[in-house]
Symmetry: C2
Amino acid sequence: MPEHFVGKPIVRVDAAEKVTGTAIFGPDVVLSGMLYGKILRSPYAHAKIKSIDASRAWELWGVRAIVTGDDFPGILGGEAMKDLPFLAQGKVRYVGDPVVAVAAESLEIAEEAIKLIQVEYEEIPAVFDPREAMKESAPIVHENHHQYQHIPVMKPVPNSNIMTVSEFSKGDTDQGFAEADCVFEDTFYSHSIQHAPIELHSVVAQMTADGKYTVWVPNDGPHRLRKDLSDALKIPLTKIRVLSTYIGGGFGSKGGLKLEPVAVALAQKVNHRPVKIVNTREEEFSACVVKHATYLTVKTGIKKDGTITAREVTSIWDAGAYAEKSPTVCMQATAASAGPYKIPHVKLKGYCVYTNKVIAGAYRGYGVPQVTWAYESAMDVIARKMGWDPLEFRLKNILREGDENPTGQPVHSIGVEECLKKAADVIGWEKRKNAPAPAESYKKRGFGICCAAKNTKTPSGAAAVVLLNQDGTANVVTSTVEIGQGAKTIFTQIAAEVLGIPVEKVCVSNPDTDLSPYDASTTSSRATFHMGNAVKEAAEDIKKQLCNLAGEIMGCPGDDLIAEGGEVRPKDQAGLNKEPLPYKQIMMKKYGAGGTILGRGFYYPEVKTNGMWSAPSIFWMYCAHAAEVEVDTETGKVDIIKLVAAQDVGKPINPVTCLQQVEGGAIMGMGAAMSESLIFDNKGRMLNPTLHDYKLPTFMDLPDLESFIIDAPDQNGPFGAKGIGEIVVAPTMAALAAAIEDAVGVRIKEGPLSEEKVIAGLEKLESGQEAR
Amino acid sequence: MPEHFVGKPIVRVDAAEKVTGTAIFGPDVVLSGMLYGKILRSPYAHAKIKSIDASRAWELWGVRAIVTGDDFPGILGGEAMKDLPFLAQGKVRYVGDPVVAVAAESLEIAEEAIKLIQVEYEEIPAVFDPREAMKESAPIVHENHHQYQHIPVMKPVPNSNIMTVSEFSKGDTDQGFAEADCVFEDTFYSHSIQHAPIELHSVVAQMTADGKYTVWVPNDGPHRLRKDLSDALKIPLTKIRVLSTYIGGGFGSKGGLKLEPVAVALAQKVNHRPVKIVNTREEEFSACVVKHATYLTVKTGIKKDGTITAREVTSIWDAGAYAEKSPTVCMQATAASAGPYKIPHVKLKGYCVYTNKVIAGAYRGYGVPQVTWAYESAMDVIARKMGWDPLEFRLKNILREGDENPTGQPVHSIGVEECLKKAADVIGWEKRKNAPAPAESYKKRGFGICCAAKNTKTPSGAAAVVLLNQDGTANVVTSTVEIGQGAKTIFTQIAAEVLGIPVEKVCVSNPDTDLSPYDASTTSSRATFHMGNAVKEAAEDIKKQLCNLAGEIMGCPGDDLIAEGGEVRPKDQAGLNKEPLPYKQIMMKKYGAGGTILGRGFYYPEVKTNGMWSAPSIFWMYCAHAAEVEVDTETGKVDIIKLVAAQDVGKPINPVTCLQQVEGGAIMGMGAAMSESLIFDNKGRMLNPTLHDYKLPTFMDLPDLESFIIDAPDQNGPFGAKGIGEIVVAPTMAALAAAIEDAVGVRIKEGPLSEEKVIAGLEKLESGQEAR
């Protein structure tokens, strides 16, 4: 029996490097002759740049370059919409906008130089709330933004701050609401937070004399970065090389154009030397990227039997000062904003709006945590008002195998019902009414349960090359970035499984866009699914070639042979009396010590639409979280007693790394729900851009946490596996809010779920008002 | 008409990087946390190591590791024969043998530490002349060397210094000599020189916590190095990663195991930090690798009409203290040692012999310069003695299309006759008797002309991957090293030609064995031929895929389409009325912005032997050099008036880079003939290991030099091209010696062609003896 490697909890292949501190992350990159860059940023949310005087900075020894937007006139970057100057041109649009950059022989000199640069600004009116920004009278963040180059799917509204509007509809919601017995409408607010990865953003960029740019960077899309820079600089893709370091946590923040444009700008001016820039933590918070603050209005029509007849969701996304990934976050999340329910009539609309705030972009879940917060809160509000069990109400409407989802796509391999049941079972949903009350009478217990669904970028391509070496070992070459999710481990297991060789004989390398083939990006939970399929195909391609070579040796057609367990042997039914040939022997016999076999795989899944729906996704992710909380009615303090996360993983390639994702996600979702929140003053200045003032959960804050993976093999996934990385954070906040309401009757509709809001809700309840 | 890129003299793609000094060569590699290594070397040619005391060195601050052979018991490396300890074990075998290595925080500390280490030796008898070393009484350099692991083709003679004997024969030389009217026999000596590349040998090695070794190195065979280290360390190939820097000249010296084993030894002991070692120039000369000193006896039977009936060549190769590449140098060169002539009866024998000298190995030509020196000198001696014109004698016997060469292989695509005629024409061979005599009566003019032939490593594999990007540009991924020969330029032209895209849109990367596919090595003049074919195949593979994709768009079979000039269109005869589709458009239509096409090529040429001959070569290289010299009979000084080099290139991919090879080769051949020579004392110590005492030619020494490329398209070469890099140095010394003899009657049979030898010859002539 051949040994199996898929489905086994092998130790992460990058574990030794990481625990010994030898793994190279972005800020670890040191090159010969390297200069250090520093950025002077705007202190104003919206201002014209009147003049820049860098003469005193130039007098400092060791200053090698000072660049401003004037050095790059008309150069605009961006993935979806090209609106991002390398450095501010003419005006600044948020507090933190890069205005001048310096490269110097040391970081200290660069910092000193920045202080010596005088910029004269003329402040102009700014807008910070996306709802305000949508008004006709609002200050315009980008004049004529509809003239920017943008992806075809975007619909910028001229002379406004509306960057794009995303719309999806199915059926006729007017009819759906008419058929309903009750219609509920509520608005929920998802607050802005920051990704706060351990590793700060960094980049090293060099322009060599042949006009080629090499960029060493912890960016989650090396090929996408190559394309973005190529577009901006108007040079061929082959003139840009991106080398990926390990990434010390990204959660969506480590993609797109962050420090890269500024580093490239400096690299042009320093006589071919490399230039390194590393964010400070303050820059990381206030001048990098944040999760969108989002207003979401959910309108639901239901029948008395609990059937949902129609749903409309209208969302407003605070994109901040530049488009970055906002257009596609808005689009993807809007498509997912009705939830994993059977709903015949759906109308979904998302407004993506510029404000004079720090750029918002991809945050783990790509907008789905925001929409989940809204539709799951809505489900609980409805259930509570109708006197239904929230779990039963969900199960009544939940999507099941073969159902058509709100965007019209028939769903398969769907484990959300089982996730809900598992989470309910473990949290003790049935017996919750009999749960013992807290000893202190001023403390109340409550339970909440929520689920979520997320789509993935479709279509998108992933290519892999597998090189079978003379000794029967294999090098796997992909452009998937190891961002902490364990992708290298997963590909190792897939290649080992297909080839039938031990995982120790497989090596997965980090991307280098000059050598590793195209991948769209390490985002959208697509590494295991998309690249996993490409690696599988490339390994299978090798086996086919091995069978053909062995056939030449054995004197039979390759089709009569099978490659398994590291050797090629006749298929059982082939009736050949031949000894099995180990791969190494096949290579030696055919090529001596000088052979190799090149396997290739390219996975580009297209989902055919039937014209009825326009948001296809090659797979959907599903999960459910359940929470038990204890609320102190005197202080408003919420203690999370227990958190349960159940995740549909398709089939786990590695159950332990799957569970780590699920656990990590629940903790991240808990932090986002309870304590994390970005606070701005009325000038658009972030007030808590430090790990001291911004409250990330620590291990001391962890509740009793139980995580489960649920099998629901995906027909298209490698070995049935699905991606899970993003969805794991989505339902936590709604589950916790439901548990709080269950405990004390206070429905919080605006994140975070703070003590103040609990107390305010309790006071309103006492005064006879509806809480909130 | 599609534009052509093959055959055009495009500017080298690495020119800008190199002239601006930004190209990264081995010694330029700087890594974070890097330590510096230094080697304590043996002062004795042959001695037992009694004790090593490093205690005082350990007391120095900044010393991080001190390693000796005891740290690596039984570990032996080597490509052909595993006889090389990482550091001397038990005894030293040449002056320069590495005994102890130190890694420290700075080079200065490492140098200081080395001085503080005490090694006690017991000197034992040594042997320096390979002819002496073959005697039974000789001191044995490697006891029981026949027990070393070695390649099957080697035949070590037990209890001797004979590492291997190479033999090739065809026909019956006894019969051939019996059929001859005259038999000539002479012994020639080819002296030892050093490659003297501008770039010193260097390496940076790191062992990470996962037990993986990464080596940054200017080594001409990254995959071969990976295999050599994998064999020695007994770990899978995937546990070693070799990253190739640019190489600042190698000429055969930059391959095999040089500083790599020592760096790897230190890397094991320094807690995962990288360790860098760079040779000094003195180490480069005396403790790295040199060209074999070789004794060659040529016995030739001829008929009065000038027909050669038989030839026996016996050669003795001074391999120095370790095998390195000597076994295959001896084998390849022995197979080529009869010259490019029609000879029915041939017996060729090469002895490869250990001595207590610095290791000899591959030198540009892989032993063929030595054998050419011998057989071409023999041709001139015979012609002179028989009163024949040396050119006519050669042309009488030269190999022509379809002839069987001395190893029994039928030859094709052979331009050696045309090379001889071109060189003769340009040097003025016909009119040489009428050439004006020098003004000074004590100066004499003379002319010489010689040719050469060289085989290439066969079989050997080369694999290439070509990645077609979304914008229609292409990344070419190979493991060929850019050693200065222009390989990146050649592959750029081949890929551009096949794909029909401008050379500016092609990028060829440097090797990284984790990502770039297998190649045997950048040696044996095989880059253009072998890897050129692999790149061509990979690019053609892309075109086929493009046609199939375009067929899906156009609604016709891919076979009806042709990819040309960067677009796909119907074949002329297909009769389809379809607009051509540019590659970029095909990609966009099929994959949006997210596509790629993976092309692959693997070239592994096998030459079927018929049992008659055992030294097949997929192609042979041919060239001819002619020289005009003026000899000062009073001082012996030889002025080279003119040097002409004519080179069969198959078909040039880039005529300018071909000519640069030919010119560079002639200059190198001239230096090797006239002024370069390694001098040892009677203790085996090199006396001139510096660029001051070792006389490399400078541009001031250049004669009037004319170079020509001759087309003789090779049936198997990419676009008819052949490799040329090694053969270009081979015939220079013999041509110059012939010209000296032509001028003053002095036949020098031992290199170099020094003034002293000319004077000594003239004195003998005056005293009535035959010169030498």
